[in-house]
Structure formats: C-alpha cells, structure tokens
Symmetry: C2
Subunit: 140 residues, 2 copies
DNA sequence: TAAAATAGGAGAATATATATCTTATTTTCA
DNA sequence: TGAAAATAAGATATATATTCTCCTATTTTA
C-alpha cells in the first residue's frame, strides 16, 4: 500500500532536476545530492527517459535533463513511469486475476477508487512541489 | 501500491459475514465460499477480532460473527485491521525513516494525500457494499 | 584514440507476502 | 466426564518482490 523506495528516488530525482533545468546533470551528482544509490538511480533514470520525463546525453559531458516543463510533470506521471499503471487491487489491472471479478461487489469500488486516487496524484506537478516550502521553513 | 492478498481475503471475509449476520460462521465455510486458504484466513480473522470487527466463539458450534453493524465497518477499518495504519510513503508513518523529511517539499504532500485517501476509503461501508450489484448483474 | 559518460542485461542480497503446521485452549454434548 | 470440534497463538516454511550491484557495450568529447 506504499510507493517503493525506487519510486521515491525517482521523485527526488525529478525534484532535483527541476531545480537544475539550466544544465545537464550527471547521475553521480543526483545520487550524491539526493542520497540515492548511484547504479540503482541510473536504472531509474532510464525509466524516466522512456516515459519522456527526462532526456539523456551520453559520453563526456553527458547526463540528464528534464524533457518537459516541471509544470507538465505530475506525481502520477513519475509513479507510473517507475511502477507502471497503478491500482489499489490486482483485479483492477487484470480482471482475470480473480475468479470473482464478474460478481464481486467490491470490484467496481476499487475501479472507482483508482480513478479518484489518480486524480489526486495528477493535481500535484513539480513546478508547484518545487515552490512548496517545507513546514519547518515556513515564516511565523 | 496495492493492498495485499491478505487484505483482500479480509474484505471478502467481512463481506461474507455481512451476508450471514443471523448466525455464527466457521472458518471452514468462509474459506470455501470466499476461496481463501483456511489457515491463512484463520490468522486474518484473529486480526479482525482484535480490531473489533468480528467476534469469535470457540469450541463445538464455534465460529465468527461481525461484532458491529455492517454500516459501521468501512473499507478503511478492514484495511487497517490487517495492515495497520496506512500511508503512501514510509516517511508519513515515521519521519525518521528519511533524513530529508524536515526539508523535503514532497513530504507534506504525502501527508495531505494520506488524509484525502483515507477519507475516500471511509466513505465505503459494508452495508452499502453488500447492497451494490456488480456490473454484470445490472438491469438493462 | 583515450577518457568519461549513459544503456542494457544479468544476477545477488534482502525484505515482504503468503501461506502452513503444531500445540494449546475452549466449548459442547452424548 | 471425556471425546470431539472448534478457535488461539506461535513458529516456521516458501514464494515473490524489492533493492541494489556488476559487467559489458555504446556513445560522445577533446
Ligand atoms: S474478491 Fe472482488 S475485489 Fe477482491 S480481487 Fe476478487 S474481484 Fe477484486
Ligand atoms: S524524500 Fe521526502 S517524500 Fe521521500 S521519503 Fe524522504 S521525506 Fe518522504
């Protein structure tokens, strides 16, 4: 019922790239700054590239950069880039996962909740998130 | 990002008990009807008892029964009975799980999402769910 | 062409989910 | 009163998923 560490790393990563849109950033730097294991993060960045959230450059002077405006990248985008389509119960993504799905009274509820939940996640984009002051920084 | 099989079994179980509030039901019967492994289900029922969702009776003629009105048992109640408090990211349940929590811009978002999500789950009680016709049963 | 970076695949280590088994306790009723 | 039938509780096994590393290939720069 939680996002994985991998997904959290991905979010930190996009958040860091949001603060460095002016240049190309190496995995090593993101890894250091966001305290995520370098080789794991490299894999995660590949997923972000496939999802057209980041762009990569190889070779000397290579690295990563966001490929879209932070305002056009939502929490849902990043989560789905890493975990694929999400749902709160297996039967939502694959009806055949459960023999009861055609008669089950809970099944349609999970489907509805998935839609509502995804909407909640879509509401948060990285321009807004990067602009958010954490509670401990708020003024009196 | 999904509920576990254990939790789904728990929900099926409460749903079955909702349809049999007139009597005490043995684990064996729930297991058969809801296609859940008997000894696993027995463990799950212990959690439901601890959460005051079900009541148990030992010995011959023993079994289980809901201990509250179906209308007063929500999806959130059952999920929390099985999984404990839920949140979408580890730092929400335990700030110390992540060194960034005091400065992280995403942290407060997860806290807000948790509250919104829990509200969604609270809206569904078992009286309503049991009254829901699955899509395949709807009239033309 | 050497050095520095990412790409991609394989796989190891660890944690979690999914059960099962065994023994103890409670309750009924012949 | 004692055998049978049920749950309680704890230990343990198995499977799967998560988390992370390593190796080799490819690309790019200078
Ligand atoms: S029992 Fe209902 S809710 Fe649970 S997996 Fe099957 S169809 Fe989905
Ligand atoms: S990085 Fe932020 S959101 Fe992620 S675990 Fe740490 S505090 Fe929570």
């Amino acid at each position: 019922m939680q996002i994985t560490r991998e997904t959290d790393y991905a979010i930190r990563c996009v958040l860091y790239l949001t603060s460095r849109t002016d240049r190309v950033v190496m995995v090593d730097e993101i890894s250091r700054e966001m305290a995520a294991p370098k080789s794991f993060l490299a894999k995660i960045l590949q997923k972000l590239v496939k999802a057209d959230i980041a762009r990569s450059f190889r070779g000397v002077k290579g690295g990563f950069q966001l490929s879209r405006e932070p305002r056009d990248i939502t929490l849902l985008d990043v989560i789905e880039a890493v975990e694929g389509s999400i749902a709160l119960n297996a039967c939502v993504l694959d009806r055949t996962a459960c023999g009861f799905s055609s008669t089950c009274a809970v099944h349609p509820i999970w489907i509805g909740l998935r839609a509502e939940f995804n909407e909640l996640l879509k509401k948060h984009n990285f321009a807004d998130i990067a602009g958010t002051k954490p509670s401990s920084d708020r003024e009196p």
